[in-house]
Point group: C2
Chain length 125, copies 2
Amino acid sequence: MSPEHTQHTGETCPASKREILSRIGDKWSLEIVGNLWHGPKRFNELMRSIGGISQRMLTLTLRGLERDGLISRTILPTRPPRVDYELTEMGKTLIDPVHALVTWAINNEARIHACRAKFDAAENS
Amino acid sequence: MSPEHTQHTGETCPASKREILSRIGDKWSLEIVGNLWHGPKRFNELMRSIGGISQRMLTLTLRGLERDGLISRTILPTRPPRVDYELTEMGKTLIDPVHALVTWAINNEARIHACRAKFDAAENS
DNA sequence: CGGAATCCCCCCCGATACTG
DNA sequence: CAGTATCGGGGGGGATTCCG
């Protein structure tokens, strides 16, 4: 164990890295991790707080994250049934990197939209 | 300007954040940014170093990143023609967050595959 | 060399309906 | 409440061909 910080200043890393990145870097996974970093949430809680995700995609993405060991799924034997989703220890190590990316997105959103408008105007000339 | 670090501990940020995230979080954008953080590269240079990307997707993704103001495209009037792609100033601010994510992916790849195997074995029982 | 254009397949994903 | 099942379209993306 203890993969000791794989020295990696650039290139390398063929397809497997990309596989992992597209797993956690897809449209909904980042969102779910972002919505779980305060603590556990239930299915419909996630559904509401994410907004715009279909039941199907929420289920599928949660399954994928669970399969990868990033979140845990706990069934509470209450009535009505209740299921809590929570970041695992490994999942929690994702918080910092994801948070950095989310913060970047928020801070640069306006600038990006400005660039887009400029670019589109230029090519329509 | 100067969006001064948007305080953001969790939720918030509706659809626009997701739009930006899915822009840079798609299959190829992260890869391209990762391959440019050492300096400019040419089209076919990127093609080779990324590996597995089609000409079409490289073109499309580069256009998208250029449109968003994250990379610049410079045509050198040499013979044969030569085109350099390079991170813009805003693009360079992406290096740290992306690098964090890539490092995470590399360091957790083995563990994730182990989790997957375990999960798949469990449900096939 | 660095593209643009066309064709076409696959699968992602939303909508809807049903279950425990 | 928390899912599963099924259908169907839309577009992501590969292969190929042609251009400057």
